[in-house]
Every structure is written in C-alpha cells, then in structure tokens.
Amino acid sequence: MKKKYSGIEKKLSRWGWTFVTPALLFFSLFSFYPIVNAAYTSLFRKKILSLKPPTFIGLKNYAYLLRSDDFWNSIRATFAFTLGAFLPLLVVSLLLAVLILSVKRGQKFLQLAYYAPAVLSSVVAAVIWMSIFDPRGLGNQWLNFLLNTPGTDHKWLADSFMVQLSTILVYFWKYIGYFVVIFIAGLAAIPGSLYEAALIDGADRWQSFWRITFPLLKPTVVLVSVMAMLQCLKTFSTQYLFVQSGSPQAPINVITLNIYNTGIRDHMIGRSSAMSIILFIIMLFFTWLQFKTTKADEVSY
C-alpha cells in the first residue's frame, strides 16, 4: 500500500510490539493460562472435589458430548437464542443511534433512557422482569390489551416457545442501550461534513446513509456485530435466572448453562471443560467468518 524505508518500518514494528506487550502479559496470566488450563482439564475424567489424581481419557469427554442429546439440545438453544437476539440488537441499535442523532432536541435524554436498563443491577432487573412475566403481571395485561384477548395466559415463562422469546426480550432490553452508545461513538467519529451531507435531505436520506455513512461506520458495525454475537453465544445469567424462577429448563438450556450445571452443580469438571472448549471453537469460527465476510479491516474514504 505504502512505500516506506525499511529502517523506519523496523522501528515502527518494534514500537507496535512495545505497545501491545503490557496487555499481552496481563492476558497471559488472567486469560490465556485459565483457558489453557480448561483445555487441559477437558482431557480428564475429573470430579471437582476429588483429591485423587484425575484419569486421563483423551478425547472421550468430547466423544460423549457429541453423542449426547442433551448437549445437542444446548447447541440448538444457544443458536436459537443467538439468532433471535443478535440480528434485532444489531439492526435496532443502529437504527436508534441514527434516529437519535437526527432529532434536534433530547438527544442526551434519549441516549440515557435507552441506556438506563444497563444501569440497573442485574439482581433487581430479575425481580422486575419476573413480576412482569407473572401470569398476573404486566406482560399478560398489555398483550391481552393489544390483542384484545382478555383473560388469556400467554405463559411467558412456561411455554417452550414463549420462554425462549421472553429470554430474548429481557436480553434485548438489557443490551440495546449498550450498543446504541457504541454506535453513537462510531457515528461521532465520522467526518462531520460527510455525515451531515448524509443526513441533510429527507428524500434520499436512506440512500445517502447506505452510500456514505454506512461504509464509514464499518469498523463500528463489525465491532458491534462481533460483540453482540459473542455475547449472545455466551449468554448465561438471563437463562439461569429464568430456570431459578421456575421455567422449564430444556428450551433455554444454553451451552453456558449446561457448562455451569455440569461443572458446578454436578461436579463433572472435565466434561464441562470440554463443553467450554467446543463453545470456544464455535465462537472462534463465527468471529473468523464475520471478519472474513465483512473484510473488516478495509476502510476507505
């Protein structure tokens, strides 16, 4: 792309390493080591509390999982959730960010309002949503009002389809503001004149958005879509909470919940580590795919 003197290039590459080294050292200790440890543990039959040395069983944990209906159900639940939450999050947060910047007044208020769910403690959010989903709660009241179906129980927490929808709803609520805020920062980084040009005319606002704003926003779109995807694949607390509140487990038994139950509740740490590694590989693959398909690093003005 650019011509440079090799001496400068060498110097720059050294500075590049210098800048990333502190973070690398940190990650080695607090992330890489635990991950390597989990990968190692996945090759053993190991009970968490046992003082006996664990038995090496090679890939048997993986073989067991790939034959287990329960684990395949978890993969299904994880993907159902990710598909249901990821796309709406991405599209709606971008839409809201653009709309917020297009209104004259109340930008700050709108941002804060959308971000507000993230301000709530998760424990408290849980209490609130559970009372909304209670058969006598707001969920039924409002839906019955909208659909004009008085007295119907929509079984927010009980029906296997509805319970998946409910987890998605809560998740969406919690994270929408998070991504709106990121998009706004990304939009703010776009050269002002282009950006204004893109929004000036009501008639072809849509076109100019796609032609001018969107390409410039690409790094942010990649950021949000990768983050949203990884977070959805890793979702845990929402499902955990639903099950604690009496929902059936199978429809929302996502991989992380299965990892938790297998490792912490049933003490089979070898098997749960193997699940973690499989989830790790799934996430790695999809991240790679996203970078590949979006050609994320190309930015042109």
């Binding site: 210098t18 607090f30 989990a38 804060l112 507000a116 609520w173 990649v222």
Partner: protein, 281 residues
C-alpha cells in the same frame, strides 16, 4: 443539525423512538415506584404505579442494612473506587494496545489480535477455578488488588479502540513523525486526545460492567469491608429475608453514580467528533 420536516418519515422515526422509550423505561419506573412502597404493596397484583405515599423506611433500611451496620456506605465506596480504577486502567491499556494493533505493522499482529479476541470466547464459568487459583497464588484474596487486578484491561476495550482507530488518518501520524515527535509522545498528545468519543463510551461501558460485577467479587471479597455494591444487593435478595421495597431502594441509590457518570460523559459522544473530522473532512 438538520432541518426537521413534518413528513411521514419523521413521524415514523418519532414513533420508533417513543416505542423504544416505553420499552426501556417501564421496568425502570417500576423500580422507582416500588422503592417507595412497603413490600406488601409490591406483591399486589395488578401493580399500583403510583405509590400511596413515600415509604421512607425502605431507604433507611437500604442504607442501614439488615443488621444496622451501615456497611452499605463502605460497600458503595468500594464499588466507586474499584470501578473508577478499573475504568482508568482499561481506557489507558486498551487505547495503547488498540493503537498498537491498528496503526503499526508487525509480524504476528493478526495473531496477537486474535489471541486477545479469543479471551472473549470462553465463558467466565469455565475459567473461574483456574482464575481463582491464580488469585490465591498471587495472594490477591480479600484485597482491593484482588478486585481490580484481574480487570485491568479487557478484550472488548482493545477491540473497540482498535476499530475506532482504524480510520485514523495515517498521513497525519507520519507528518508528526517527520516533525520529530517520539512514538509515546504521538500516542499521548495526538492519538489519545482524538479518541474522546470512544474513550467516553469505553469509560461508561467499563464502569458499568464493574459496577454490576457479581461473581468475581463474591469469590475474592470475603470480609464485609471488602464487599462491593452488587454483593450488598444480593444480600437483600437472600431467599428467606427478601424485602423487595428495601431492595429496590438499594437499587435506586446504587444507580445514581451511573446516571451521574453518564450525564457527565455523554457530551463527548457528539461534540468530540469535530476534532477527528476537521482533519479529514
């Protein structure tokens, strides 16, 4: 910024914004209104949105605690301290690393980036035990270091700063180099000041995730004095002693610092844009 016209498109935009507003704010209103009610009224169905009066005892109990020890004040101070320190270190290290990854070419760069990204791909539940092992070996339990050190920087921050800096005009950096500026100098005087919107955003997001961090502090903060706000809230939620009113009051008090931070930071989102654009636009 733009001329507001009364067109169907604008009406639609307004409706979308309004709909999203209702969706996000209803649960928040629930929290505020419930924090002013005795627990008995919160359980009443259908929920009464307007409290019949201000049940101030909730707030008194929230601050005094179940045992009247006022440890709440210490706990919220801990949360403020830990979240602030983590936010500062995350912003610094993330921008440094993100800058290194976005604007320097070196062998292994993509591998380093991927390795850092990979740390986001393993659920916390899976590495909890080895992480605890590291913490105990470093004697981090029950100390501020234990609450802070494992979160000095995170992959999301690095990722975000890298993405943000990718479009940063390279010619501009080169020009500064030719003027004889040192690399750390360029980072400190040129790159950082130009990242205001991203830094403001990252600060808010990092602060939030520390403010709500539950699992790790549960593991390392053992004495009451070391505990943070989420642990305090969980206490109110303990199965046999739930007092929903007081719990909502804690939540209201606990969300104030976040709101203040948001207000003081959000101006950078939009106004920060100009620096970046004047150079390129």
């Amino acid at each position: 910024m733009i001329k507001q016209k009364f067109s169907p498109l604008n009406v639609l935009a307004g409706l979308i914004l309004l709909g999203a507003l209702v969706f996000t704010l209803v649960p928040i209103l629930f929290m505020f209104s419930a924090s002013m009610m005795p627990a008995k009224d919160i359980l009443r169905m259908p929920f009464r949105w307007i409290p019949r009066g201000f049940h101030w005892q909730n707030f008194a109990k929230a601050v005094a605690g179940n045992d009247g020890s006022f440890i709440f004040i210490r706990n919220i101070a801990n949360s403020l301290f830990v979240s602030s320190v983590v936010t500062v270190t995350t912003v610094m290290l993330s921008s440094l690393t993100g800058y290194g990854l976005a604007k320097f070419r070196f062998r292994g760069r993509n591998f380093v980036f991927l390795a850092i990204m990979a740390t986001m791909m393993i659920p916390f539940e899976a590495i909890m035990i080895p992480l605890y092992l590291v913490a105990t070996k470093l004697h981090l339990q029950n100390s501020y270091a234990g609450l802070i050190v494992p979160f000095l920087v995170n992959a999301f921050g690095v990722f975000m700063m890298r993405q943000y800096l990718l479009p940063f005009p390279e010619e501009f950096l080169d020009a500064t180099r030719i003027d004889g500026a040192s690399e750390p100098g360029i980072f400190w005087h040129i790159v950082l000041p130009n990242c205001a919107p991203a830094i403001a955003t990252l600060s808010i997001l990092t602060f939030r995730s520390q403010w709500d961090n539950l699992l790790w502090p549960l593991l390392v903060a053992q004495s009451e004095k070391m505990k943070t706000l989420p642990l305090y809230i969980v206490k109110f939620a303990a199965e046999k002693y739930t007092d929903e009113g007081a719990m909502m009051a804690v939540a209201v008090l606990g969300s104030i610092p976040m709101l203040v931070l948001f207000f003081s930071m959000s101006q950078y989102f939009v106004s920060g844009a100009s620096v970046f654009s004047s150079r390129k636009g």
